[in-house]
Amino acid sequence: MNNILVFPMVLPIIVGVLLLFFRSNPNIQRWCSVLTMVVVFLISLWILEKVMNEGILRLDFGEWAPPFGITFVADAFAMLLVSTASLVSILCLLYAVFARDERREKFFLYPFLLLLVAGVNGAFLTGDLFNLFVCFEVMLLASYVLMTLGGEKKQLTEGIKYILINILSSWFFLLGIAYMYGTLGTLNLAQLSQRIAEAGQPPLLTTISILFLIVFSLKAGLVLYFWLPGSYGALPTAVSALFAALLTKVGVYALFRFFTLLFYHEPSITHTIIGLMAIVTMVGGSLGAIAYVDLSKIAAYNVVIAIGFILVGLASHNVEAIQGSIYYLIHDILVKGLLFLLIGTVIYLSGKTRFHQASGLITNYPLLGWIFLITILSLGGIPPFSGFAGKLLIGQGALGAGEYVLTAVAFLSSLFVLYSLLRIFLNMFWGETSIRTQNQIPLSKGMLAPCLVLAALTAGLGLGMDVVSPYVTEAAHVLMNPELYIEGALNNE
């Protein structure tokens, strides 16, 4: 019994709900939520360490033994993501604290951010298919509120699309769960895996797996990313950074769980489809990233490209590629949060949303400019930053699996990432300054600090690869050997 497992989900819920009582006191709201996420981050690091020492941990809610009760299962993959997600939420919350959006703060901005994080952490930890759905819903409901909070016209138009598309995909999700339960008679992920293996994944189950593929593709923005650029562009900076860092990644997590733990018997069908979808995503994302001149659109299409890139690893389905994907997933959570914070800050400072409308920002805000350059290099996968190892391993894995087209598209898409962002950098930061020194909006240290920390993290993650690699190796090991997860999630000693 490991009650500690429930804290990454329950702590944000408790504090989030408690904060409802302190509506009139913004300072309590701000610092309590930041403090909570710091505690959650420390707890999740502790659990990660424990998982490395003791193997997969499990908590049976109410002491109902699996597969009858519901469980939380923590393996290295889940805990790596929980830790990274909590870390990014600390920094996004800090940014929100210093951005001082008092109108939104008064209407429960922080409680909903905490509930969002609770849903995300719960989705990473749960070992039960129905609970995965519930955690998705917790996360989505919070995101619906955050999407429309503030009530700007743009938010409401994009919000209604976002809500409709997500309700539709949740409905498909529920349908898929019903099919699973109807055919296999269980919803415990580990037991599902056992039963699918016993049945040898007949065509019926493969069809169901494709239904789940569609559901999670909608959430992750794999091929079905049409909703993503518009809705992310309508959000305030801190919220958009949190969305970009976390929401699509939960979909990606679910895809990894499903197609390594459950439906891994017919890779010639499912993983080929994932590969094709990854190609379409990367091509579409690249086109979007260079087609638009709107900053937030370019950033949003960069999210899309990264999703395609991560799934190249899943499509290749060997240890190296999966390791690469995990590296890249961690890197991407950090750096996409950073990118959106920076883009939001740039829009706030220059007052312009298109990149050719301002120039020479680096003379006004030198540090911001250099952080932006680091972000670009990191996103492009240039050593020593954190994107490099992931790209290298995914490339090696994909070549090892003989996926030459996939590899070529993946690395071409990196060039598009570099090009699309360098264009912003060259136009906005270089050249003659368009803002006179006496007119420039002061950039508060508090807003710059989270960006600086994230930039330091992406450099640190790149340089300190040795620190992270045992965790990633362990995570990939469990993903590639489903029997380990089953053993951890079902054994009743």
Binding site: N3, V6, V10, I14, V17, L20, F21, F61, G62, E63
Partner: protein
């Protein structure tokens, strides 16, 4: 035009107490029979909604000065903390227990911790449903 709703108001005044009683009954029955926190909570909130329909929002708010958002929040907290309570006794999160007690009037009675959890749910449901109803009425 001034509406004449004497009948609605008179019936509501009586019916509200019947509904509330029934709600509490359903809540307690849920331990072994159909019912429980969610269903009991829905029934209880229907009593409040009936009041809001029969009288206007101001009158009811003056009579029952509650912020239903806070009612919902309290409910969620009670439920989560009742789940956390198990941690103090070294059991898994959300573990429940029960025991038999000899109470003065009721005699031998089964008392279960799950009632705490369920009462949280009931409060949560009442808070959410009434908040939704009031928000919709403000929109129109």
């Amino acid at each position: 035009m001034r509406e004449n709703d004497v009948i609605l108001q008179t019936v509501s005044k009586v019916a509200v107490f019947i509904i509330l009683t029934f709600g509490v009954y359903l809540f307690l029955a849920g331990h072994h029979n159909p019912g429980g926190g969610f269903i009991g909570g829905l029934t209880l909130s229907s009593a409040f909604v009936l009041l809001y329909l029969a009288f206007d929002v101001e009158t009811v708010n003056a009579g029952i000065p509650m912020d239903y958002k806070m009612v919902a929040a309290t409910g969620v907290l009670i439920s989560v903390f009742s789940g956390m309570g198990a941690l103090l006794f070294g059991s898994a999160f959300l573990s429940q227990t029960f025991a038999y007690f000899d109470l003065p009037i009721f005699g031998k009675t089964e008392l279960a911790t799950v009632v705490l959890f369920e009462s949280g749910i009931a409060l949560g449901v009442v808070g959410v449903v009434v908040t939704i109803m009031i928000s919709i009425s403000e929109d129109v």
